[in-house]
């Protein structure tokens, strides 16, 4: 499969430019459609989507790995590809126990129609079970204190909403801020019913998206861990995952891209830490209470959840004197008479002399009939999250509701804010501190994450007995507080339907190719306008709640210029990373370790040479990077490449760096003269350039 991708990326530039011409046609068409009636066309497009898909020859290739995942790539006109992960999911609750392939995550990679990775851009990410809620789901979501699942969406034949635009993470930030401002300034003063209802709606919408982001994250991690054919480069993978994680933070979309791998690593370590601690905490509590602990693992071997069981034979003899419910959050099984006459699910297990579980009975094995007591999520801060109590269906839900009710009553109904009411701030802080510190399973962070993971686990873990899986699946739905959630079974159907719609959209000339072209025109904005204009356009985008996006007119050499701009951005990012390595501890750059020890200088020089050839005045970050690299290497060739890059960029910053270097006494005379020479040459060039160019990019 991979070589086929290479083949498709191996198109020569001419072919790519032909692609551009096609895109321009598509742009014109889509623009006119937009001007007429965008909504009507979308409905029409959906209606005819299937026939278009049937008629269009789709460059569709599949890779199948024998076990769990399958990758599908669909070429999109205009130079992009839609990559989709399909998972083989086990049936839950139905009559058939046969596994089925379900598309779960799609990503659009804008390749500009060539094989260079440097100019690729990841655009949209779809989690295909994520749908727009139905009318009734939305209404229910707006009803305060409606913490229940009201039924699933049955049909999703429209193009699915992308979970995230990976190329414009910052857009999300401004939207959030705008909505918050709108809520606080306009909606909240209207009155309690409107405030409570709008806030409740917003909360549910946000939670719905979060829940699907978590699943997308888990799925991408799992796909990566199982060693399937890579969809993304390692750096891209970390960046996507970090971006998804940062959607939780208000300003997450504004974080510098260089910080993303570090952030991702920290979060990944935190997850490992949480899971390990909860695994151990539950095991010890199970041991102390005479119970049986069974971790449930994802296909990559990572335990994400755990079951607690009690042995039927122990119920009569009671192996522990006192039951300690701390951290377990369930009632005492030893005094529960229902368990003595348990008619629910139970399982026979065999253990050897060392109490290790074995598959079947044999000599010196003990047969133990176990009754499930509870299921917990391990990826949860501080304590395991109770998700299923087999004796009390509402127990986990009550615990999940405890924080939300408190929040909804105070904020949505009473309009009490921690920032505006000091007694409330103090009381709430103490309450949060005590419940949090003691690890009491009330008022804890939402179990949304581990709940979302459980849904994935139930689909992917074929080691669970179907009957038990079905029972867990039924019970876990009650944990959700979100009326907009769909059931596991419904989600599979919806995923298939949405994928079908997405494929149709990808192959329609006025569908994804047109959207891609529009996005590229928007991407052209920084290349055409100065900073002030860009701020203005951004402002317009924000105040219109994203409805207005400035796009450059068609007819420019979009692909060629984006190719250059993206490559420049790629090399700048790389050089910034190089310049940043190991300098965290050094107050002064010259104390930072030399880069040649850590990096392959050929790679560094190649990026510097690119900037030396195509650098632009807007590359302020590249100037800092090149200057730092100059200071942190002894390699003459690399230093010369730094000077050449600075000379090409030739903005005020670059010139002052060249001047500074030319005055440094500890720098070789040759390099100092070269700096002087570059400065002199550039002054001449400036005169010419300035007379030709007004504002914007020198690439024009």
């Amino acid at each position: 499969m991979h070589h086929l991708k290479r083949e498709s990326k191996g198109l020569d530039k001419n072919k790519a430019y032909f692609g551009v011409l096609d895109i321009r046609k598509l742009y014109r068409r889509s623009w006119s459609v937009a001007r007429c009636s965008r909504g009507i066309l979308l409905v029409l497009a959906c209606l005819i989507g299937n026939s278009v898909a049937a008629q269009t020859e789709v460059n569709q290739q599949e890779t199948t790995t024998p076990d769990l995942f399958r990758l599908e790539r669909v070429q999109v006109d205009g130079g992009a590809e839609l990559v989709t992960i399909h998972a083989k999911l086990d049936s839950i609750g139905g009559e058939s126990h046969e596994p089925e392939w379900v598309p779960l995550v799609s990503v659009l990679r804008d390749t500009l129609g060539d094989s260079k990775l440097e100019n690729d851009r990841l655009r949209y990410l779809w989690e295909l079970t994520y749908t727009r809620p139905t009318f009734w789901q939305r209404v229910s979501g707006a009803v305060p204190f409606m913490y229940t699942h009201i039924g699933s969406k049955q049909h999703a034949d429209k193009v699915p909403p992308p979970l995230m635009d990976l190329s414009a993470a910052d857009r999300d930030v401004w939207n959030k801020i705008c909505w918050r401002a709108l809520q606080t300034i306009l909606i909240d003063p209207v009155g309690t019913p409107i405030r409570a209802s709008s806030r409740s709606y917003q909360q549910n919408i946000t939670d719905l998206r979060r829940s699907h982001i978590i699943r997308a994250l888990s799925l991408l991690t799992l796909y990566q861990e199982l060693g399937h054919e890579p969809i993304f480069t390692a750096a891209e993978q970390k960046e996507i995952q970090a971006r998804l994680l940062l959607t939780d933070k208000t300003f997450g979309g504004l974080v510098d891209e260089l910080k993303l791998p570090g952030f991702y690593q920290k979060q990944a370590s935190r997850v490992e830490d949480n899971v390990g601690h909860n695994w151990e905490l539950l095991r010890q509590q199970a041991e102390a209470n005479g119970l049986y602990f069974e971790p449930l693992e994802m296909p990559d071997g990572r335990a994400t959840h755990a079951l607690l069981w009690v042995a039927k034979s122990d119920l009569a003899k009671r192996p522990v004197e006192r039951f300690d419910p701390r951290f377990l959050s369930i009632s005492d099984p030893w005094s529960d008479k229902r368990l003595l006459n348990w008619d629910g699910y139970s399982d026979k297990r065999y253990f050897d002399r060392e109490h290790r579980r074995i598959e079947s009975a044999g000599p010196e094995t003990a047969e133990v009939e176990l009754i499930p007591l509870a299921l917990y999520g391990l990826d949860n801060p501080k304590i395991p999250a109770l998700l299923v109590d087999f004796r009390d269906k509402r127990n986990p839900k009550r615990r999940e509701m405890s924080r939300r009710v408190l929040q909804d009553v105070t904020r949505n109904v009473l309009a009490v804010s921690q920032f505006g009411d000091i007694p409330y701030l103090l009381g709430r802080s103490v309450f949060d501190f005590v419940t949090g510190r003691r690890g009491m399973d009330i008022n804890q962070p939402s179990r949304l994450k581990t709940y979302a993971q459980l849904k994935l686990l139930l689909s992917l873990d074929d080691s669970l007995e179907p009957e038990l899986r079905s029972e867990i699946s039924d019970r876990v739905e009650t944990v959700s507080l979100n009326p907009m959630e769909n059931s596991i079974q419904a989600e599979r159907k919806l995923a298939r339907q949405q994928y079908k719609a997405l494929l149709a959209y990808a192959t329609r000339p006025d569908g994804l190719p047109a959207k891609l072209a529009r996005d590229r025109r928007a991407e052209m904005t920084p290349l055409e306008h100065g900073k002030l204009a860009q701020i203005f356009f951004r402002l317009a985008n924000v105040v219109s709640f994203g409805k207005y996006s400035h796009r450059e007119p068609d007819g420019l050499d979009i692909v060629g210029r984006l190719d250059l701009a993206r490559q420049r951005s790629y090399h700048t990012k790389f050089l910034r990373e190089v310049a940043r390595t190991g300098s965290e501890n050094s107050a002064k750059v010259e104390l930072a370790p030399k880069i040649e020890v850590v990096w392959n200088l050929d790679q560094v020089k190649s990026s510097l040479r690119f900037l030396a050839e195509y650098g632009s005045r807007q590359d302020g970050k590249a100037v800092v990077a090149a200057a730092n690299i100059f200071a942190r290497t002894n390699d003459d060739e690399t230093r010369r490449a730094c000077l050449a890059a600075l000379s090409q960029i030739n903005n005020g910053k670059a010139r002052s760096e060249l001047l500074r270097i030319s005055e440094q006494k500890d720098v070789d005379d040759d390099l100092r003269s070269l700096s002087v020479q570059y400065l002199a040459n550039r002054r001449g060039t400036d005169a010419v350039t300035n007379s030709n160019t007004g504002t914007g990019s020198p690439d024009r």
């Binding site: 933070k249 490992e272 390990g276 905490l281 390595t581 190991g582 050094s586 020890v597 790679q603």
Partner: protein, 846 residues
């Protein structure tokens, strides 16, 4: 190598030692040594040109992990995943492939070896005094800073202990103004400026950086460490500073929590980047050619991405009725992160009360009967109250019962006095000694008070720079410690005196207050093997039983616990990981006085005073004998035995068995055992030096556990201890040694692989503390400028242990020749002969 003003340091140390000790003993020795070794010293200087030592002390960094990751290629850069370690130590330096912790792989004790080069005097991260229950918390830095602000404490507790024993640290070889040390367990002097600067600099970031950090979650945990690194880099530029060290705990911290490779790789990369920065900074200093950069770790880490470390709660076991129903004192709070009180860093011992106590219900505060140090995870040290004190306590309680049957009163009284008489000689002797020592302590307090009063109240800035303020505070701090000692031990002595003063003929139990007879908050003496095998925990369910002769039936009247069997036979029902046993305990070790084995062991008169008994089961046991020759060379013999027992009269019996599989340390079955050709059991049965054993064992699963067991369980006399002095000085020396003896635990419990005893929290990522090779195999690498003589791209394959570190550092800087001849300046500072070998491969080669 040393500047003249180093004499200031000598003065400061003299304050710590009993008065006039220096003048009486050290000065003549120093002068003699000076005249003898002048020529040697000069020649040493000519060979070794290392002027400056920069030591990065990396807590818990395992050699194997570093070595594996250095060899991995980073796909992004095409270079090693740890490019600086590769560049500095693999390409331009020397690394020891087989460097081990000697003793337990635990930070407190292990750093003590690396700091002093002397045998272990500190045996745990936490130690308890049996008589007073005073807890030495060696790892907690916060009290130093809080008490230090009031001038009540200057050094970390471990340093105070070593000072009291007269054992100097490596950094003591340098004057105050010639060294820079980061914060550590063996820290001298709190530095508040570091803390304030840390806070200020944490937020001195460009606005964009600050914004990003705030968005992603502001990290404050590394704030102080970042400041220490900044300080180190600054101090590297100061040519006057000749010794710099920095302790980095990050790997240890992360690996305890996370066993996954990527989390550990991340922290290794951070360490690697720091090494790059330090190396680059060194290269820009004028003394680069004469500077040695050293990284060393105190232990390895038993971590495996496929396995979660499992904890076993010994506090719960000891509190259970099967475990003796003890109220258990610990220094660490159980489930610390889940307790509100856990936020308070200043607390004395924490007592976990049990509801299963047989006779002390509701008296946990007054009468805890077990002390547990579970710090260090793969091992725990257990102190149990002297079983005879339990017996006396129970008998007294019974005798005070108003409903006690009259026929029982006399036999009970007899039993009470029989028990006391059985121990009288021993207790009386201890009491006499203690009283003598308390007398000397009182006189020393008076002298110390005078000394303190003589100190100047105002100091110049120059004096402060030289650390004079710390020296004065040390006097006051010592005074406080002695006063506390005097108070606590006097109370113990008072109650013991009362107990010994009881007379049977005037005895009236009803009039006695138990706390006046049985010391509160005290464990009393260590239990011998008999008492540990027949430990009295309470009255038998059948109650008091009389013999036909009318005396109390001591066997049937009491519930007894055999702690060796109890610990070893403990199993768990949740056995989930295929490579983890359902038995948390591997084996239990304790020391037996060599003299008590005299009739059974022919060479007993030549033995060190402690013999180690390792118990794996009734039929899998071993005795480890140690002896040293005139030159101080230690040798060991491992004797497989079974069924060791001690009778009430102290007589020990055991059966000698053949070498077999399953013995403690699992030596004979280990495929990595390396013995001379043609010999196995014969060689193993003989005496061998520690070096020979190290060579044979170091690659086995338990590495140098045989040597380590003796290092940890045995007590070690210090070679440099003066044998003469005033009577008070001798008494004070004996008193200090007694304090060390009093922290010796009854039992050292060793966990099975991937088990730990941490009850403070959870360590699913990894653990250390055992003798398992993965935990003892540590990192030691050196690199330096051309004049340091440290070989380039050199690998030392011979095994060494942590006793070699200090002598090698001193040899590298030209202050020690032939392992023995110290620079006179150092002898004056209290440095003595080192039992460890110098790693000669790194000295003077090019």
């Amino acid at each position: 190598m040393f500047s003249p003003d180093k004499s200031r340091r000598v003065a400061s140390r003299s304050i710590l030692l009993p008065a006039s000790r220096l003048s009486a003993t050290v000065w003549p020795a120093a002068l003699f040594s000076l005249s003898l070794s002048l020529l040697l010293l000069l020649s040493a200087h000519a060979n070794a040109q290392t002027k400056r030592l920069v030591i990065l002390k990396l807590d818990g960094l395992p050699y194997d992990t570093v070595d594996r990751v250095v060899r991995e290629q980073d796909p992004r850069t095409g270079k090693s995943q740890l490019p600086w370690i590769d560049y500095v130590f693999y390409q331009r330096g020397t690394r020891l492939e087989n460097f081990y912790v000697r003793g337990i792989s635990l930070s407190g004790p292990s750093w003590s070896l690396l700091e002093t080069g002397q045998h272990q005097q500190i045996k745990g991260n936490v130690e308890f005094d049996r008589y007073t229950m005073h807890a030495y918390d060696y790892l907690n830095l916060l009290p130093l800073f809080v008490k230090g602000a009031r001038g009540k404490q200057v050094d970390m507790p471990a340093v105070e202990v070593l000072d009291s024993l007269g054992v100097p640290l490596l950094s003591d070889a340098y004057a105050h103004q010639e060294k820079y040390s980061g914060f550590s367990v063996y820290q001298r002097g709190p530095r508040y400026l570091t803390l304030t600067n840390a806070l200020q600099n944490r937020f001195k970031l460009p606005p964009r950086e600050l914004f990003d950090e705030w968005t992603m979650g502001l990290e404050t945990r590394s704030m102080v460490m970042d400041e220490l690194i900044r300080e180190l880099l600054k101090k590297l530029k100061d040519p006057r500073i000749e010794y710099l060290d920095l302790v980095l705990n990050d790997f240890d911290h992360v690996a305890h929590h996370n066993g996954d490779n990527s989390s550990q790789l991340q922290v290794l990369k951070e360490i690697d980047a720091l090494i790059g920065t330090v190396w680059t900074t060194i290269q820009q200093t004028p003394d680069a050619e004469r500077t040695a950069l050293v990284i060393v770790s105190d232990h390895g880490m038993n971590t495996d991405p496929q396995i979660y470390g499992q904890g076993f709660n010994l506090v719960k076991l000891l509190g259970s009725s099967a475990g003796g129903g003890h109220h258990v004192a610990t220094k660490r709070r159980l489930l610390l992160d889940y307790a509100i009180k856990g936020l308070i860093p200043f607390y004395d011992s924490i007592i976990t009360a049990t509801r299963d106590s047989y006779y002390l219900r509701g008296q946990s505060k007054e009468y805890p009967t077990a002390m547990l140090d579970f710090d260090g995870n793969e091992r725990a040290a257990v102190h149990l109250r002297d079983s005879d004190l339990n017996l006396l306590h129970i008998l007294l309680q019974q005798l005070q019962r108003k409903d006690l049957e009259a026929r029982l009163r006399a036999p009970l009284t007899d039993a009470f006095f029989n028990v006391r008489e059985h121990r009288r000689a021993e207790w009386q002797s201890e009491l006499n000694e203690l009283k003598e020592e308390l007398g000397a302590l009182n006189r020393s307090i008076a002298k110390q008070q005078m000394l303190f009063e003589q100190q100047p109240k105002q100091l110049t800035e120059e004096e402060k720079k030289q650390g004079r303020d710390d020296e004065i505070n040390r006097i006051s701090s010592q005074l406080d410690r002695w006063r506390r000692n005097e108070r606590e031990y006097s109370e113990f002595a008072r109650v013991l005196t009362n107990l010994l003063a009881l007379k049977k003929d005037t005895f009236n139990a009803g009039r006695i207050r138990i706390e006046e007879i049985i010391p509160k908050q005290s464990m009393g003496d260590r239990n011998d093997v008999y008492r540990l095998q027949n430990y009295v925990v309470g009255l038998a369910p059948v109650g008091l039983v009389l013999n036909p002769a009318g005396s109390l039936d001591m066997e049937r009247s009491f519930v007894r616990v055999n702690y060796f069997a109890l610990l070893h036979d403990t199993t768990v029902r949740n056995n989930l990981q295929s490579r983890v046993s359902n038995r948390p305990v591997d084996f239990v070790a304790t020391s037996i006085p060599a003299k008590s084995l005299a009739p059974l062991v022919p060479e007993s008169d030549k033995l060190e005073r402690d013999v180690v008994w390792a118990y794996k089961s009734d039929d899998k046991q071993a005795l480890i004998f140690a002896r040293s020759d005139d030159a101080g060379q230690l040798s060991f013999r491992y004797q497989p035995i079974k069924n060791l027992r001690q009778s009430t009269d102290g007589q020990i019996t055991f059966d000698i068995v053949e070498w077999q599989t399953g013995l403690p340390l699992e030596i004979v079955e280990d495929p990595a055992l390396s013995l001379p050709a043609g010999s196995t059991k014969e060689w193993l049965s003989q005496w061998h030096t520690d070096l020979e054993w190290l060579g044979a064992l170091h690659r086995t699963q338990h590495s140098n556990g045989l040597i380590g067991l003796f290092e940890t369980v045995g007590r070690h006399a210090l070679a440099q201890q003066p044998t003469a002095g005033t009577p008070d000085e001798m008494l004070m020396r004996r008193f200090v040694q007694k304090q060390r003896d009093l922290v010796e635990a009854d039992l050292l419990v060793l966990a099975n692989n991937h088990w730990n005893f941490d009850a403070r929290g959870f360590n699913p990522g990894g653990n250390h503390g055992s003798f398992l090779r993965i935990s003892t195999h540590s990192t030691w690498m050196l690199a330096g400028g051309s004049q340091t003589g440290i070989p380039r791209a050199f690998v030392i394959k011979d095994p060494y242990d942590s006793l070699s570190f200090v002598p090698t550092m001193l040899a590298l800087t030209g202050n020690l020749r032939d392992d023995r001849s110290l620079a006179p300046e150092l002898t004056r500072k209290g440095f003595g002969p080192f039992p460890g070998r110098v790693v000669k491969e790194v000295i003077g080669k090019q």
